[in-house]
C-alpha cells in the first residue's frame, strides 16, 4: 500500500517538477541576485528596526512601568520617534515589495523541502513574509483610521512586530554567509558581467527606482510631522494647520461623547491627594499664575504639530491643593468611554515646569475639540496621553 502511494507521489512529483522549474525560470532575472537581495534587504531591515524601536518606545510611554523614569527632554522626542515610526513604515512598503521581488523565484524551489532545517527555514520565511505584509498594511490602514480587519490594531501590531523582528533575526542568521559574501560589491560585480545586467533593468537601475519610489512616498507624506516637508504633503491623512485653532485633533468632542452640560459653568477640576480633595472651577484656574509654553501635539498615528499653550503649571496647581507628586498621577476625563478616558502620568512629567493644565491654545480659549475647559499638555508624551476635558487628577504619594 505504501508502495502504491509512494509511486503515486513520485509520479506527481515528476509532473510538478518541470512546472516549478518553468515558474522559477519565468520569474527569474539576472538582476535578482544575492547582491540585490542584500542591498535591498539591509535597507528594509533598517526600516523595520527603526519601526520596532520607535514602536516599543511608544508602547512604553502609553503603559509606563513604575520603575522606569521616562525622559521629558527633548520636548519633541516623541514627535521625532513617532514621526520616524510612520515615515519608516511607509518607506518599508516599497522596500518590502522590492525585497520579495528579488527573491520571488525561490518560491518555486524544487524539491520544496530538502531536510528538516530547510522545512523550518521555509516556515519561518512564510511567517516573516506574512507578518511583515500584514504589519505594513494595517499600519497604513490605522493612520487613515479605517479598520477593515477583525482584530484590535494596537495589540496585534505589537505582537506581529515581535514576530517580524524575530523572523528577521532568524533569517539573517540563516543567510549570514550569503550576506557576508555580498555585503560589499565583489569583483565580479565590478567587472565583466558587472552591475548584473538583468532582462531590462540593471541592478543599479532597480535599486535607484526602488529608492525613488520610497523617497517619493516619504516626501509626499512626511509633511504631516516634518515642518520642512509640509508643503509637499499630498498623500498623508493629516495636514498641518488644518483643524480648530489651526491644529488637527485625534478625536472630536462629538466623537468622544462630550455633553456641553458636562463642561458648562458647573464644571470644576478636582484634585484628589492625601491632603484631601480640592475643586477648581474655570475662574479659579484663570486667576492662578498663567504660563506660556510651546509644545507639540504628537499623535500615535504619526502626525504632529507644535503649538502655543497657556495655562496653569501642573506643579503649581498641585502645590495649591497641598499635593506633592511622589508616584504616578491619574487623570480622568469628562469623556465617559474610550481607552484613554483615564490616563496615568509618571511623576517626572508632573514635576516638569513645562507641564500645564492648559486653558488656551494658540492665543485663544481652548476649542471644545481640543479639550475645553482644560487639558493636560506635557513634554514628550503621545497625544492620547494629553488628556482632554479634564475632570479629576488623583495624586498618589
Amino acid at each position: 500500500m505504501s508502495n502504491v502511494t509512494g509511486r503515486a507521489a513520485a509520479r506527481l512529483a515528476e509532473r510538478i517538477a518541470p512546472l516549478m522549474r518553468r515558474a522559477h525560470d519565468t520569474a527569474d532575472d539576472p538582476v535578482k541576485s544575492p547582491r540585490t537581495a542584500v542591498v535591498v534587504g539591509r535597507l528594509l531591515a533598517t526600516a523595520f528596526l527603526v519601526c520596532f524601536a520607535t514602536g516599543l518606545y511608544s508602547h512604553v510611554l502609553q503603559h509606563p512601568a513604575s520603575w522606569l523614569v521616562l525622559p521629558t527632554r527633548p520636548v519633541e522626542l516623541y514627535r521625532f520617534t513617532q514621526g520616524a515610526h510612520v515615515i519608516s513604515g511607509i518607506a518599508a512598503a516599497p522596500l518590502l515589495l522590492a525585497k520579495l521581488w528579488s527573491v520571488f523565484p525561490n518560491l518555486f524551489t524544487w524539491p520544496p523541502v530538502r531536510s528538516l532545517p530547510h522545512l523550518l527555514e521555509r516556515v519561518s520565511i512564510a511567517v516573516l513574509v506574512g507578518a511583515a505584509l500584514v504589519e505594513v498594511t494595517i499600519g497604513l490602514l490605522n493612520i487613515v483610521q479605517w479598520y477593515p480587519f477583525p482584530f484590535s490594531f494596537r495589540t496585534t501590531h505589537l505582537a506581529l512586530a515581535w514576530v517580524v523582528i524575530g523572523g528577521l533575526s532568524i533569517h539573517v542568521g540563516v543567510k549570514l554567509p550569503v550576506i557576508a559574501r555580498h555585503w560589499r560589491r565583489r569583483d565580479e560585480d565590478r567587472h565583466g558581467t558587472s552591475d548584473a545586467a538583468g532582462r531590462v533593468i540593471s541592478r543599479r537601475g532597480f535599486v535607484t527606482a526602488v529608492g525613488a519610489a520610497a523617497a517619493s512616498a516619504v516626501v509626499l507624506t512626511a509633511g504631516q510631522s516634518v515642518d520642512a516637508l509640509a508643503p509637499m504633503n499630498v498623500f498623508a491623512p493629516r495636514r498641518m494647520g488644518v483643524g480648530p485653532q489651526g491644529l488637527p485633533v485625534n478625536r472630536t468632542a462629538a466623537q468622544a461623547g462630550i455633553a456641553p452640560a458636562a463642561v458648562g459653568p458647573a464644571w470644576a477640576l478636582e484634585v484628589h491627594s492625601s491632603a484631601g480633595t480640592r475643586a477648581f472651577d474655570l475662574d479659579a484656574l484663570r486667576r492662578m499664575p498663567q504660563t506660556d509654553v510651546v509644545l507639540p501635539i504628537a499623535c500615535v498615528e504619526g502626525w504632529s504639530q507644535s503649538a502655543s499653550w497657556r495655562g496653569v503649571r501642573l506643579i503649581d496647581l498641585l502645590a495649591t491643593a497641598g499635593a506633592e507628586p511622589g508616584g504616578p498621577l491619574v487623570f480622568t476625563s469628562v469623556q465617559a468611554e474610550g481607552a484613554f478616558a483615564r490616563t496615568t502620568m509618571p511623576p517626572e512629567y508632573a514635576r516638569d515646569p513645562l507641564t500645564l493644565v492648559a486653558l488656551e491654545l494658540n492665543g485663544s480659549v481652548l476649542h471644545l475639540d481640543h479639550g475645553y475647559p482644560a487639558r493636560v499638555i506635557a513634554p514628550g508624551r503621545p497625544g492620547v496621553m494629553q488628556t482632554k476635558w479634564l475632570r479629576a487628577i488623583e495624586v498618589t504619594a
Binding site: F151, L158, I170, V200, I201, G205, A209, F235
Partner: protein, 148 residues
C-alpha cells in the same frame, strides 16, 4: 560565523516567542482566526497575484526593450514603479475618505486628484522615454546602434 549564526537564530526564536506571548496574553483567542487569515491571505495575495503580475509586466518590458532600447524601458519601469507605490500608499487614504470620518481634521487631502497628477507625471515620463527610444531606434541611428 557559526557562533554569530547561532546567536542570531536563538535571538530570533526568543523574539518570536515574545510575540507569541503577547498574542496569548493580550489578544483574545476569538481574534486568532482573523489574524491567521490575514497573514495567510497576505502571502497568497502577494505570491499569487501581485508578484506574478509584476513578473508579467517585466516580461512585457523585456519585449519592449528590443524595440525601444534598454535605457528608455528602464525609465518607463522606474516611473511605473513610483506610480504603483504612490497608489498603494494613497489608496487607503482615498477609500477611507470616501467612507467618511466624523473627524473633519483627518483625511483632508484630495487624494484622487493628487493620484491623478502623480499618474499624469508618470505618463509624461513614460511618453518622453518612449519617444527617445523610438528616435534612437529610427533608421538614421540604426547603423550606430548596430555598431554597438
Amino acid at each position: 560565523m557559526r557562533l554569530a549564526r547561532g546567536i542570531l537564530i536563538a535571538l530570533g526564536v526568543g523574539l518570536t516567542a515574545i510575540g507569541g506571548i503577547v498574542l496569548l496574553v493580550d489578544v483574545p483567542p476569538e481574534r486568532y482566526l482573523g489574524i491567521a487569515t490575514w497573514v495567510g491571505a497576505a502571502i497568497v495575495l502577494h505570491d499569487g497575484v501581485v508578484a506574478p503580475v509584476v513578473v508579467a509586466v517585466g516580461l512585457g518590458a523585456a519585449r519592449a526593450d528590443r524595440r525601444l532600447g534598454r535605457g528608455p524601458v528602464a525609465v518607463v519601469q522606474g516611473a511605473m514603479l513610483v506610480g504603483a507605490i504612490l497608489t498603494a500608499i494613497a489608496l487607503p487614504a482615498l477609500i477611507a475618505s470616501l467612507r467618511g470620518n466624523a473627524n473633519p481634521t483627518i483625511l483632508v487631502g484630495s487624494y484622487a486628484s493628487s493620484l491623478a497628477v502623480a499618474w499624469a507625471l508618470v505618463a509624461i515620463t513614460v511618453a518622453v522615454a518612449a519617444v527617445a527610444g523610438v528616435r534612437r531606434a529610427s533608421p538614421s541611428s540604426a547603423r550606430a546602434a548596430r555598431r554597438n
